[in-house]
């Protein structure tokens, strides 16, 4: 049994619902026990850090303090979102690196009767936990439906392999953890040199031209390598590549169709879990081709319409519309 404290983050309940659903679905076969931090708050993403230092870190540290209060036997916190993971890891690391700063953050926390001892929790990303704690052998044992013939791009984005304060990943630019995991699922892994390039982060909201160029590079590179699907470990990457692909296509007058799924969705599929339970169909660039390649029945695109109320057979007799011939006959009679 593997116990972790879970910090889901805001996206997991909204735009990355498929990530949360599929994570819950694969937890059981992996014997992964996740306990959500009670009443956690937003980590501030990349927005608060650029506004004001102490409040930004106090916002993050409230979650660390709540997590350490609840820690019951385990000190390991897992975050599936890259930005959340980095923020938690960063707050912990800087509070350790500069004790004076740690003291200031704790002074702020004290206003809410909380405190956090830097270094007392182990902050981990979900991919790291699955590959290094649970192990690829366990993953492989759970594969019922190998992803044979599916060409998958492993895309990690920035914030997990970098800065990687505690050196948990094999490389900053070309880490292989996700590749190995996909191989364990039986997929054909695409050699994708842009695997840790930036998806643009918040740029679609700030400087669309910058963002679209970054997205175009990623999608074009996946398309050139004849990938069936991209897979990611980050809600922001998924949202940008999935949600803004249409607008990017309009901007460059291109016609790319490159679906992107969370790695947990592909794991679930390989574990033989129903696509509907894994959040399939929630993506805007349809990943139907993935299911077709594997011969898995796709969930209905839209929820089926409720059945119409059956008409009572003994209802009042209703007039039936007249046929053309009857109308002609009536006309003739009227003329007479």
């Amino acid at each position: 049994m593997t116990d972790y404290i879970l910090y889901p983050g805001c996206s997991m309940e909204a735009s990355a619902r498929a990530y949360y659903d599929s994570l819950k679905a694969i937890s059981k076969p992996l014997d992964l026990h996740l306990k959500e931090i009670n009443d956690w708050n937003c980590c501030g993403a990349t927005e608060y850090l650029g506004i004001s230092k102490t409040p930004a870190y106090a916002l993050i540290a409230r979650n660390l303090a709540l997590a350490s209060n609840e820690a019951d036997g385990t000190r390991r916190v897992v975050a599936p979102c890259s930005a959340c993971y980095l923020n938690l890891a960063k707050a912990d690391y800087y509070m350790r690196e500069q004790p004076k700063f740690g003291k200031t953050v704790n002074e702020a926390l004290a206003a809410g009767n909380l405190s956090y001892t830097p270094g007392s929790l182990e902050i981990r990303h979900l991919l790291d936990v699955i590959v290094y704690d649970i192990g690829l052998d366990v993953v492989e044992k759970n594969v019922i439906q190998p992803l044979t013939g599916l060409r998958v791009v492993p895309y990690l984005g920035c914030m997990v392999p970098r800065p990687d304060y505690d050196h948990r990943f094999s490389d900053h630019d070309y880490p292989v953890e996700l590749d190995l995991l996909l191989k364990a699922l039986g997929a054909e892994v695409v050699d994708y040199p842009l695997k840790t390039e930036c998806c643009g982060g918040h740029m679609p909201q700030i400087s669309p031209s910058t963002a679209f160029e970054m997205l175009r590079r990623l999608v074009a590179a996946a398309d050139e390598r004849e990938a069936d699907v991209m897979t990611t470990i980050c809600p922001m990457c998924q949202l940008n590549i999935d949600g803004y692909q249409g607008e990017m296509n309009q901007y460059f007058k291109t016609n790319y169709h490159m679906p992107i799924l969370f790695f947990t969705q592909l794991m679930g599929l390989a574990f033989g879990i129903e696509p509907k339970e894994l959040g399939f169909g929630l993506e805007l660039v349809s990943a139907r081709n993935v299911l077709d390649t594997l011969g898995v029945k796709a969930p209905p695109e839209t929820p089926p319409a409720p059945p119409k109320r059956p008409r009572k057979p003994e209802g009042l007799p209703m007039p039936t519309p007249l046929t053309k011939a009857e109308i002609e006959a009536l006309k003739k009679e009227v003329v007479k």
Binding site: A14, Y48, H202, Q205, S207, M214
Partner: protein, 200 residues
């Protein structure tokens, strides 16, 4: 990157003495952790690693030289921190272990404070995002997106419609915000944090 000369041809009114590192020290002290900013050897690895350097008016390397030279106004007017996408390529490649991304966050904060931000919608976006977090304890994508696009990109709304509708019908975006239970505690913590920040 523009080719504009770093120093205008007009005589500089009050040149900073070479030892005056007030600005550099201020930026370093306002950055979380140990920034190592003063250790920059001007190698340029940061700019060479940056995916968005092409749109920056100064590369990070040049910006750090400006900080050392005490060019406060020029440095805080730079679009560089606003174009930074927080990808951390520069941080892991910097031979001097300078926390470059975090220095960029500090420069954003200082630019807003000095009212030197040049036409960027970024500070507004960050502020709206944070206003919602301070109100609900959670981010609120629907509120943020609609507010920000209406204000800054009204002409993009037509192109955005398919995405917005898709996100709503697939329930990937909620029409109503989620609020944490103990907002009182969070507000007290943030209030104290702001007081502490002002004292520094």
């Amino acid at each position: 990157m523009t080719d504009a000369p770093l120093i205008s041809s007009a005589p500089v009114s009050d040149p900073q003495p070479i030892e005056d590192l007030t600005l550099l020290k201020e930026v370093a002290s306002r950055t979380a952790g140990v920034s190592n900013l003063e250790m920059c050897i001007q190698c340029g690895t940061c700019g060479g690693s940056c995916p968005s350097a092409g749109e920056m008016d100064h590369t990070p390397r040049r910006l750090f030289a400006m900080l050392r030279a005490g060019m406060r106004e020029e440095a805080l007017k730079s679009n560089t921190p606003w174009i930074c996408v927080s990808c951390y390529h520069c941080i892991v490649r910097c031979p001097q272990n300078i926390h470059i991304t975090d220095v960029m966050y500090t420069l954003k904060d200082m630019a807003v404070e000095a009212k030197l931000v040049q036409n960027s919608t970024a500070p507004d976006f960050s502020q709206t995002f944070i206003d919602m977090v301070e109100e609900f304890g959670r981010s609120f994508e629907m509120g943020l997106a609609s507010f920000h696009y209406m204000k800054h990109f009204p002409f993009r709304l037509a192109n955005m419609m398919p995405m917005g509708m898709g996100m709503l019908t697939k329930k990937r975006m909620s029409l109503t915000p989620t609020r944490i239970k103990n907002m009182k505690q969070l507000k007290a913590i943030l209030k104290r944090a702001k007081e502490l920040e002002a004292k520094q």
